[in-house]
Amino acid sequence: MENVLRTYYQKHREQIDRFDGLLVNNTVLERGLVIAPVIVAANTAQNGLILGLSFILITFFGVLLASFVPKKLPYAIRVILYVVLACLLYIPVSYLMNLMFPDSVYKVGIFLPLLVTNSLIVTKTETRFLKMKRLNMMLDVFCHTVGFFLVIVTVGMLREIFGNGSFFGNELNMPGKIYAFMLPFGGFIVLGFLAAAVQRFRIYLHGGETDQKKGGNR
């Protein structure tokens, strides 16, 4: 009974792996990429929401536009163009975030502009996404960005609940607060536990062995 999920996964592995960016091959939890905003800025659910939404918009459209950059250009020029495209996308995205969250955007500080140099745009565009057909690539980038969104909002919610005793700014009357959760220390610890949970799940799915070739930081 306990192996039902594993058997199902192994039977339909090819189809399920198309969506692996959501959890099993998650940008943050498995690959250890783009962890700075999660660890430092996502200490409230709203901060997580702002950064998560911005990340989806900048990265999804950034990689999509990058797929039109001619491959004949030298690698260094291509990478510069990818980041410049992300910077151009940053302008409407930050404007949109200022409209949606006028009192909160300043709280994420430098971590919003820093999304333009995230690893999915700078390195994974070349090493992963552009090796796929465009539709598959769009699905893969979408899963990776949504995976990041889910992680950053979850981390933000957990840190806000335990560190500040509130949820989206509403007091929860918690018996105690662990202030250290609001510091980068809390981000490292919460992310460490989530990464361990995903690693355990991956070991279960793969029947006791982790996939070393795919592994990000093992």
Partner: protein
């Protein structure tokens, strides 16, 4: 102000900001900037000090250029929206110059150095150092010192993680926590230790 006074003040400020960037504002322990790159270097067993040196050069050169460009950018309407674009432009120029110079130099490990430059230029630690220097409204010695300190701080933090990485990957650690998860715990504990060491206290 005499030349001697100017020099001592300039280098004194630069040294002070380098120390701040290395310890109190450490790129990895305080802001987790470049943490994934740091883990990548350790995992691949690349040369930490060579990578740190390249990061220091790129950050410092970009910081000087940004300092002189900043007054012109800040005159523009909505300058905060185009700031990343300007900074990326500066980093891109430094990146191309570094690649060009490295190609010309008779280096032993040229391929490795070129790979380090590719990996380092658009790292969030570099852009983060420039954005932080701007946010703190630093003067020229501050920009230079912060750039140098960021590179040195990155190297120090990477080395401290490297020392423990073998143990963090040993079979003594449960499979679920081995590698990346326990490394996050380790960096987190170090970050809290440094937070306390520089004089902060947690509210009771």
């Amino acid at each position: 102000m005499t030349w001697l006074e100017f020099t001592t003040t300039f280098f004194g400020k630069m040294f002070l900001y380098a120390l701040i960037a290395m310890f109190t504002e450490n790129t990895i322990f305080s802001r987790a900037l470049g943490a994934s790159t740091s883990l990548w270097i350790i995992r691949k067993k690349y040369r930490i000090f060579a990578f740190g040196m390249i990061m220091t050069i790129i950050t410092t050169l970009s910081a000087v250029a940004v300092y002189y460009l900043l007054p012109y950018v800040q005159k523009l309407d909505s300058s905060s929206y185009i700031l990343p674009l300007v900074y990326i432009g500066v980093i891109a120029v430094v990146y191309i110059v570094m690649l060009f110079v490295t190609h010309r130099l008779p280096l032993k490990n040229k391929d490795m150095m070129l790979m380090f430059i590719h990996r380092c230029a658009f790292n969030c630690a570099v852009l983060g150092a420039l954005l932080l220097s701007t946010e703190y409204k630093l003067e020229l010695p501050g920009f230079i010192g912060f750039g140098i300190g960021t590179g040195f701080g990155f190297t120090l933090a990477t080395y401290l993680t490297y020392i423990a990485y073998g143990r963090l990957n040993s079979k003594a650690v449960p499979k679920a926590f081995r590698g990346f998860p326990i490394t996050l715990f380790y960096i987190g504990i170090l970050s809290l230790a440094i937070y306390g060491m520089i004089g902060h206290e947690l509210p009771v």
